[in-house]
Amino acid sequence: MWNLLQFELFKTFKKPRTYIAFGAITAIVFLIQLALLVNGKEYVQFILSSVDETLLIPYSKITNGYWICFAILNLLLIHVPILVALVSGDIIAGEANAGTLRLLLTKPVSRTKLLIVKFLACVVYTLILLVWMAFLSLFVSVLLFGTNDLVVAKEFEMVQIEKADVLWRYFAAFGFAAIALIVVAALSFFLSSISENSIGPIVATVSIIIVLTILSEMRIPIYDNTIKPYLFTTHMLGWKGFFYIDANANGQTITGSVNNLSAVFKSLGILIVYIIIFTGSAIYTFNRKDILS
């Protein structure tokens, strides 16, 4: 199994397309950091314009490394799934298209084991991509902008989290985001297992995510209690829950608290169920498939 995983990772990181995502994330994060370094105050004024008149906003304190990381994650975690699909959508279908899938399947390795290893390779790629993103958005931002309390805008309120209470929340949020992105990897992996070329699964994954994200974001009662709670896209942004903090009767935030931890765990559970369904379906269908490519 290790030989197979080693081979899969070796192949994955030998392909130029693997590095497209790293390049894209590096470019986007760099551009955001540069923009906020130059026009950070104006940007914060713009996004907080509705509460600007009622609150005294300490702009210089807000635009710190933690806040910039939060802003980057808000922007990026919706788009990173597209980058994840680039590799996981290609991992089986790309080999079918190139003819190397039949080469692999004539080796003494079971199809189930091969698929598990290929999925693990997708997971490793997703995690490395996320670590790279965390490094750029959190550590480079902290180096460039320093640290301070984190001010997060909720729907109808502002939440201020003490500086010392922030870092663990990022680790938890990145952990959650890893699971969310692995759901996307599992979806495109499943589509890859039933396809003969990699374009189809990549486009299909992106399309499904766009459609489901729109459904998740729509505030229409007919969907709110019927399909929305079960869509994985509804739960993919559950990482934000780690930044919604409890407050005491005096309105002071409680260090180390998470406002609705059970909802975060529920989202996590639903995402894990999706990973199992997509991966299980891929293994089931692939084991019954005739390799004609």
Partner: protein
């Protein structure tokens, strides 16, 4: 002699299309088994079933005396193959391809043994070049190295000379002979170059539209006593009548079309010509069809399908 492959009543349907139809055959230890058929005859489907890429609709396959699908990994560990064209990892080097695929076959090949195999197929100087820079012939040779590197005792080759130049074809032929005669490997080989099969196979199976047409040793199928002789005359109808009323009638095959075909020992062709000339038949040509390719075409091409003579 012990059989290495035993196929019984193998059938594969793709919806309404019967790709392989009740096919049975055996490949014995040490055989170079030629597997012939026109395009679409079901050769590749059969080979894919032998390599577990396609599941049969019905029938059974046993290799090394064990059921293929219950003992898949054990059997594939001892099997090397090329299917149609050797699609390898173009973005990896020749060395990387051989090394990793050997590992997957359960063999950790040393650097020297990998280089030895690359040397054997004439690619040692390009060991560290990416495969995408290789010609089709070089890829074919690399595919052979990948198929052999884990030292399998059964080698299944589907069109192994595709894309090779004449020297490459000759080298591959020698390699297959060497694998069989010097190393005792069992080789099953399909090829559209029928003359290649004729030169290397000791046993031959011909299939057509998924069904077995004929199976036997090369000696039997290429027996000079069973040579097909095609006669062309100025008056084929009279010639056929004369032959039907003579001792040659047992040799005569009626043919769809205008040809006169006789199955006979080619040493008796001069006597046949003399007999026809004595009966005032002018001969335009008498052509012995002794090669396997002619034999293959005669039984698989509808226009020249041979049927027993109505005596």
């Amino acid at each position: 002699m012990q059989h290495v492959i035993e196929v019984k009543n193998l059938t594969k349907n793709f919806k309404d299309i019967i790709a392989v139809n009740d096919l049975s055959f055996k490949v014995y230890e040490g055989d170079v088994y030629g597997f012939l058929g026109q395009n679409g005859a079901g050769k590749s489907t059969t080979i894919r079933m032998l390599l577990t890429l396609i599941k049969p609709t019905s029938g059974s396959i046993s290799i090394f005396g064990k059921d293929l699908f219950s003992n898949r990994e054990e059997i594939l560990r001892n099997t090397g193959s090329i299917i149609e064209k050797p699609d390898l990892y173009n973005y990896l080097t020749a060395y990387e391809n051989v090394a990793f695929l050997a590992k997957l076959s359960g063999k950790v090949a040393s650097r020297s043994s990998i280089m030895e195999f690359l040397q054997m197929v004439g690619l040692s100087e390009r060991a560290h070049s990416k495969v995408k820079t290789f010609s089709q012939g070089m890829k074919q040779r690399l595919g052979i190295a990948v198929a052999l590197v884990h030292n399998p005792s059964l080698i299944i080759l589907d069109e192994p000379t595709n894309g090779l130049d004449p020297q490459g074809i000759a080298d591959t032929r020698e390699l297959i002979k060497d694998l069989s005669y010097q190393h005792g490997k069992t080789v099953m080989i399909s090829s559209h170059l029928l003359s290649e099969i004729e030169l290397i196979a000791n046993r031959i199976l011909i299939i057509h539209k998924g069904k077995k047409i004929v199976e036997g040793s090369s000696e039997e199928l290429l027996d000079p006593a069973k040579t097909l002789v095609e006669i062309r005359t100025t008056d084929d109808i009279s010639a056929k009548n004369i032959l039907l009323s003579s001792e040659w009638s047992n040799n005569l095959k009626t043919v769809k079309g205008e040809k006169i075909l006789l199955q006979m020992d080619k040493m008796h062709v001069p006597a046949l010509i003399s007999y026809l000339v004595q009966n005032n038949i002018s001969i335009l040509s008498a052509e012995p069809r002794h090669s396997l390719e002619d034999y293959f075409l005669s039984i698989t091409t509808p226009e020249t399908h041979v049927e027993p003579a109505a005596v």
